[in-house]
Amino acid sequence: MSDLFDDPTPGQNTPVFTVSELSGEVKRTLEGTFGRIRVRGEVGRIFKARSGHLYYDVKDDKSVLACTTWKGQVSKLAVVPEEGLEVIVTGRLTAFGAQSKYNMNVEEVAVAGQGALMALLEKRKKQLEAEGLFAPERKQALPYLPRFIGVVTSPSGAVIRDILHRLRDRFPRKVLVWPVAVQGKNCAAEVANAINGFNGFTPGGALPRPDLVIVARGGGSVEDLWGFNEEIVARAVAASQIPLISAVGHETDTTLIDYVSDQRAPTPTAAAELAVPVRLELLAWTGEQGARMTHAVGQSVQQRKQRLKDMSRAMPKPERLLDDPRQKLDILFDKLPNALIRGVQNRRVQLSQKSAGLRPQALQQLMARRHDKLISLSSQLNLRTTSQNLALHKERLEHLSKQLDGLHQQRIEKTRQQLDAAGRQLEILSYRATLDRGYAVVRDAGQLITSKATAAKASALEIEFSDGTIKLGGAED
């Protein structure tokens, strides 16, 4: 029974903790032993709680360290942890007794070396590019001559001075500087806020809305320029309705903002050059245009004047206009009488030529010719030929009528023979021949009687024999 209870046995003096006592002991040991430490690893899963606290893992190939950054600490982080990022976290190790777990409270996050930074930048670049934020068609054209230029940079230092100097040289304009931290942990948020702020100005508002924004910073290390690689900056630039020139670092430094901006300038000075044209050149150009215009108009009037002069010179004098026709008239007038005479002469010649052929002799000759022709034609027209023709036709007619007669005679003869034959046949078949052999034919008033009954009724009978007919009874003729 006694085994069931913890009954201290001699020699067994191990102290007994409550769970909470142990938890507290472990927590104290962890915090006391390690103190403030730095741990290097890759950021794993990240969870941002609604409370604002940040929970994430930092791991290597074998182990995982649970990390927490409280809400109040998150805003002070220079680098917000991102999954896959190689970091060095600084903080204190502690334990969470309620779950028998230990974790690290992180106060600082730093990217572990330049390689890791570059990898992170590459990753962001790929992501934004995939979203189409670098697409050329997203780029806005810069205004030719902006009225207000907004500059997002540090208000002190060489950068703003360089920009203002170059602007003054080229074309002095109104410039609004939005002061920002250009490095450090506030940089990205301030730059993004400035870009959004300029875009938020309404045209005609208390503060003039710039029609061009320059985001500028001088050269520096990758870490110094890091704020311009942050996503919030890139997204603010992409969202900007105002055309934006980025000029961050030196020519060789390319930050994320350069990919998203409408135009990238290698240096802040170059940004000022891209922003405005050269005023004096434009003034000279305008003057030249004016001069050319005046010259062109003068030239145009001069040319027209010259042409008018040339044309009026080419125009004949009015009194000379009639000279030619007048001369023509004179010549024609001269020719007129002669022409009449010549016309009559010409006609006379024609008349005599025509009348030459008109003589009685010619008529006689013509008649003689016609006469000869008549004779020759009538000679061909004699009677002999006609009578010959007639005789020929008569002969033919006789011949044909003979033929016709013959044919007719033959036909009659043939018909007669047929008739005779038929007559003979008829004789043979006639009842009269039967009468010769002793038969008789009895009739009553011409009607043939063939039976005794009919005969009895008959009023008179005629009996025909071969040699004649006798009447029996009836009225005598």
Binding site: Y144, L176, V177, V297
Partner: protein, 80 residues
Amino acid sequence: MTQTPVEEMSFELAMKELETVVGQLERGDVALDDSIALYERGAALKKRCEDELKRAEEKVAAITLDANGNATGTTPLDAG
């Protein structure tokens, strides 16, 4: 030809049109009456450009911000 009033034109547009006008006048293929109107238009454009160029003024101000980073006003900036 519908013409934008010169006063409403941007500097760049005014420049472009002035160039066109000069070109037309120099080619000399414009009727005399039209060329006078064109010249007047050109002169107005030139004046518009010159006014803009003369208006070159330098004024530099920095934006003042409140605690939340919102713009509250401007203060002259002397950046040397």
